[in-house]
Amino acid sequence: MLTVRKLNAGYGKLQVLYDLSIEVPAKGLTVVVGPNGAGKTTLLCSIMNIAKVFSGEILFEGNSLIGELTHNLAQKGIAYVPQMGNVFAGLSVMDNLHMAGYMLSKAEADAKAEQMTEIFPVLKKFIHRSAGTLSGGERRMLAIAMGLMKNPKLMLLDELSTDLAPIIAERVMMEVARMRDELGITILMVEQMAKRALEIGDTAYLLVSGQVKYSGQANSLLHEPELCSMYLGIKQLPGQGETKLSVAEEGSEGN
């Protein structure tokens, strides 16, 4: 569904991604993991035409996205949930949902917002409250709901678990898996909670210094002890063949 080929991108004159190529298969959950400063967020920003693309190709359903204005991408069926600033804090929850479905008609947006409050019941309680007053987890649920408002074919999720308590982060991850399994949405997820993301993901890419260090099945990356330990802070338990989450992983952030 989404193909990125030999992408060189960054901000201003600063290059962050180098000849990066990834493939996002339809109806799958593709996970991008990597240490701080690897260029994970820049990859999503390049797709959304927020970062500067120096060269390379970004194809969505066979059509190039390079130079496409950000607001047109939403109309093409691409939803982007940024890591920070992913809700309009000054607007009510209802207005946030309506803004997320900006290109829908009033009746469609109302119906879709109603559907979102059924999928995320927590939002129903606060529907007329300002989004700025929601807790971190509630905000993240609202951000995902806003992404879903657009009836997207492809969702780009940027570090959804950042700053969330582990139990809330786990709930958010479950929602992501549910979107793929029940709604059939193609997802490209950048994640710092690498272990959990790799467990639920189908395909994975490990990004290091703007380049792909690993590509393949998500679960298989967990069986690469050297890569996991060096770049993701995941250490294998001796003799068990299982992995455990290290403190380093929890503290990592995207760029």
């Binding site: 950000t70 607001h71 991408l73 939403a74 109309q75 982007y80 803004m99 900006y102 657009k150």
Partner: protein
């Protein structure tokens, strides 16, 4: 009402619109619009041209002033602001570009004043617009009509920003342009509408102010410090705050001059601009976020709570 109050209300209504115009544009596009000075003057000349050449009351030509101001805003947006915003220009560059635009407009205004003099034998360089006003309740009609129009515009703006889809989209874009773009909102259109509203408000504000002061080609240049003072007093983060700030600055200028000249003599008139600027500085020292940063509801609540508490105590006693 006393003359200082009627003139003060007229002037303050105009200043409120220009300060609101500056604030709206700043929060929408990060641009401090210096061209608001000439936009206000253009509003005055639009109304003056109407009454001087075609007769009638100044109020009839206010919609035209609004339109001409909006067009001036559109030209500035497409000619300067949009290309600079696309290049992610710094705030200082955006601001200086509007200063350049203001100088161009000022030259055009001077040429237009000469054109009116030479072609129609008018005296457009010192105009007393109040001569074209009529009397209402024994006072100048503008003292009643203009504050009502200013409040009406504020209400329309409020309804537009909170009840319409595009208005809410404007607020969303102002708060988070990246997320708004990702939501499918065309930020380009939001910025354009901001310039249209802002240009219209500035021109109408100038037309209002000329009903209280002498209309000249440089009236905008003369009053721009107070327009900005109003916007800053309002806190720069809220359009309503900007409008309120402009109103307070305008009214305190007239009230302050009247009260102080009564006490200290006519020499105070020379320092009339200093009075509202002093009030602005004093307010910002106490409330650094301006008028919009004053926790009004909290104060009212505590006052209400205090009086309720008093009553309760009274009952128990």
């Amino acid at each position: 009402m006393p003359p200082w109050m009627s003139s003060g209300l007229i002037y303050a209504s105009g200043l409120a619109l220009t300060a609101g115009s500056i604030t709206l544009l700043y929060i929408a596009t990060r641009t401090f619009n210096f061209a608001v000075a000439s936009m206000a003057t253009i509003g005055f000349y639009t109304v003056y041209t109407g009454v001087a050449l075609y007769g009638g009351l100044p109020y009839q030509y206010f919609p035209l002033a609004l339109l001409v101001g909006a067009i001036t805003g559109v030209i500035c947006y497409y000619g300067l602001n949009r290309p600079l915003l696309r290049r992610q220009a710094a705030e200082i560059t955006l601001m200086m570009s509007t200063l350049g635009y203001d100088l161009v407009l000022l030259s055009l205004i001077q040429m237009y004043a000469d054109f009116l003099t030479n072609t129609y034998k008018l005296f457009p360089r010192r105009v007393t617009m109040s001569l074209y006003d009529f009397e209402l309740f024994g006072d100048r009609a503008a003292a009643f009509i203009l504050p009502v129009i200013a409040i009406g515009i504020l209400m329309i703006l409020h309804i537009f920003l909170t009840k319409t889809k595009f208005g809410v989209a404007m607020r969303a874009t102002i708060e988070n342009p990246v997320l708004a773009g990702a939501s499918g909102i065309n930020s380009d259109r939001v910025y354009l509408v901001s310039w249209i509203i802002s240009g219209g408000m500035a021109a109408l504000g100038g037309a209002f102010m000329a009903m209280a002061m002498t209309g000249t080609p440089v009236m905008g240049m003369y009053t721009i410090p107070l327009m900005f003072a109003g916007a800053i007093l309002g806190g720069l983060g809220s359009i309503y705050g900007g409008i309120l700030g402009g109103f307070v600055i305008g009214l305190t200028e007239y009230a302050g001059v009247f009260l102080l000249s009564q006490k200290f003599g006519a020499w105070v008139l020379g320092y009339r601009m200093g009075i509202p600027l002093f009030i602005m500085a004093a307010t910002l020292l106490i409330f650094p976020r301006g008028l919009s940063g004053i926790p009004l509801f909290k104060i009212l609540k505590s006052l209400a709570g205090g009086s309720l508490g008093g009553e309760k105590r009274g009952v128990s006693a």
